[in-house]
């Protein structure tokens, strides 16, 4: 018997990529799953920040899909300076917020192609559906992505294959094009039918916004960072902080990040070195970090804001401990007006 044809499948763990994998497995293709860690994943981040005692466990869907289909999944860490460049200088611009989806796909597909060669796979595939996403899953961007990622026809999109030109996998007869999908558009009906046919249960609901870069709040914060701190200075630590808490731009060189609950407060504590850290004394309240160079007056106002967010237990005038490295000062700030806070909010 000849060796089975091997393919690398980009798995998000969602229904589409799971079905795409199942479709090819039925054609006898040996599949190696692949998923990327970008550092912008919402699920991962929510776990990071929220208090740990939660009722419903969060799962890594790509790993779950691998376990469900009994196929190996490799996870590649692409977070870091090269991926950040995709975000700060995308050749093809942003989608609705700061999502550089086309450049991001090119980056991932290029890496996947490299991985494909490393493990001796013949082609790769995704669960993409033509016309499902506005930015990266239309015909023209798909062509751009394939060209720039130098895929040479080696990327198959099984769910929409019949609506796309034949790829190498079809031309070489590794897969039977007739048995591939002709799905197009946003409806999930056909995918649900296929899931039933393949006996795939327990798949995650189409969450959509699983990437922070598509989140409007996060987008505003990133743009604020670009404007006041310079996009060339963005690091993964900044990204971590941008994802968390409430953010206020007090002055061009003073920014405040404030925890919204215990988990976030704890998380922020790790970033205290090199920053001012404010906390209400005697009553529980948010952990507030100050970036930049606050004056005494700024600190007093930020302390007032910290009291404001400490909730009903904190009276105006509640003392606030302000620490910077070894220094500590106690302030008893005046209340800060709502309008001022709103003006600062990013």
């Amino acid at each position: 018997m000849s060796k089975p044809v091997k393919a690398v499948g980009l798995l998000s763990g969602g229904l589409d990529s799971t079905i795409a994998a199942a479709m090819l497995m039925r054609q006898g293709i040996e599949i190696q799953g692949l998923t990327f860690y970008t550092g912008f994943c919402v699920v991962e981040h929510n776990r990071r920040s929220k208090t740990r005692k939660r009722k419903k466990p969060v799962r890594n869907e790509a790993l779950q899909a691998g376990a469900r289909l009994d196929l190996p999944v490799e996870m590649i860490d692409i977070s870091g300076p090269d991926y950040l460049k995709v975000l700060t200088d995308p050749k093809y611009g942003y989608g609705k917020t700061v999502n550089p989806c086309i450049d991001c796909r090119i980056f991932m597909f290029r890496r996947a192609r490299q991985y494909m060669d490393e493990i001796g796979a013949q082609f790769m595939f995704t669960g993409e559906v033509l016309g499902q996403r506005p930015m990266s899953q239309r015909r023209q961007p798909m062509n751009v992505i394939d060209r720039d990622a130098e895929l040479d026809g080696l990327l198959l999109r099984p769910l929409s294959a019949k609506r796309l030109p034949p790829t190498v996998a079809e031309e070489k007869g590794w897969v039977d094009r007739e048995k591939l999908g002709d799905i197009q558009g946003r409806s999930r009906q056909k995918q649900m039918e296929l899931a039933e046919e393949y006996g795939i249960e327990d798949y995650p609901s189409p969450a959509g916004g699983c990437c922070y870069l598509t989140d409007a709040n996060f987008g505003r914060r990133i743009l604020d960072f670009f404007e006041y701190e310079g996009k060339e200075n963005l690091t993964m630590d900044d990204v971590m902080l941008l994802k968390i808490g409430r953010h206020f731009r007090v002055k061009p060189d003073v920014k405040v990040v404030m925890g919204r609950e215990e988990g976030e407060n704890k998380f922020l504590e790790r970033y205290a070195p090199g920053r001012w850290r404010l906390e209400t004394k005697d009553v529980t309240g948010p952990t507030t970090l100050v970036e930049g160079h606050p004056t005494d007056d700024d600190l007093r106002q930020i302390a007032g804001m910290t009291v404001r967010y400490a909730g009903s237990k904190a009276d105006p005038g509640t003392p606030v401990a302000c620490r910077y490295e070894e220094t500590e000062r106690i302030l008893e700030p005046a209340p800060v007006e709502e309008a001022v806070v709103e003006e600062w909010r990013i």
Partner: protein, 77 residues
């Protein structure tokens, strides 16, 4: 008694990072040997069984003590 030949400390790291580190560490040991993973992100209780199942390794035991976890993974292939 499970006798690990290698211990991976992932304290302070959050999944999927410990899983990516496990995937790298398992390549350092031979088939049949056991890797011990120390972790404090409870998410590992979901992700490690799934990673082992999908990648064909055996999760021999998981010990929980004071919100810290020790997991024992045997490299199968």
């Amino acid at each position: 008694m499970i006798q690990p030949v290698l211990t991976l400390d992932t304290y302070g790291l959050l999944c999927p990072v410990p899983i990516m580190k496990t995937a790298a560490a398992i390549k350092e040991i031979s088939a049949g040997e056991v890797l011990e993973v120390l972790a404090d992100d409870p998410q590992i209780l979901e992700d490690m069984p799934a990673w082992c199942a999908s990648n064909g390794h055996a999760l021999l035991d998981t010990i929980e003590e004071d919100e810290e976890f020790r997991l024992y993974v045997r490299r199968v292939k």
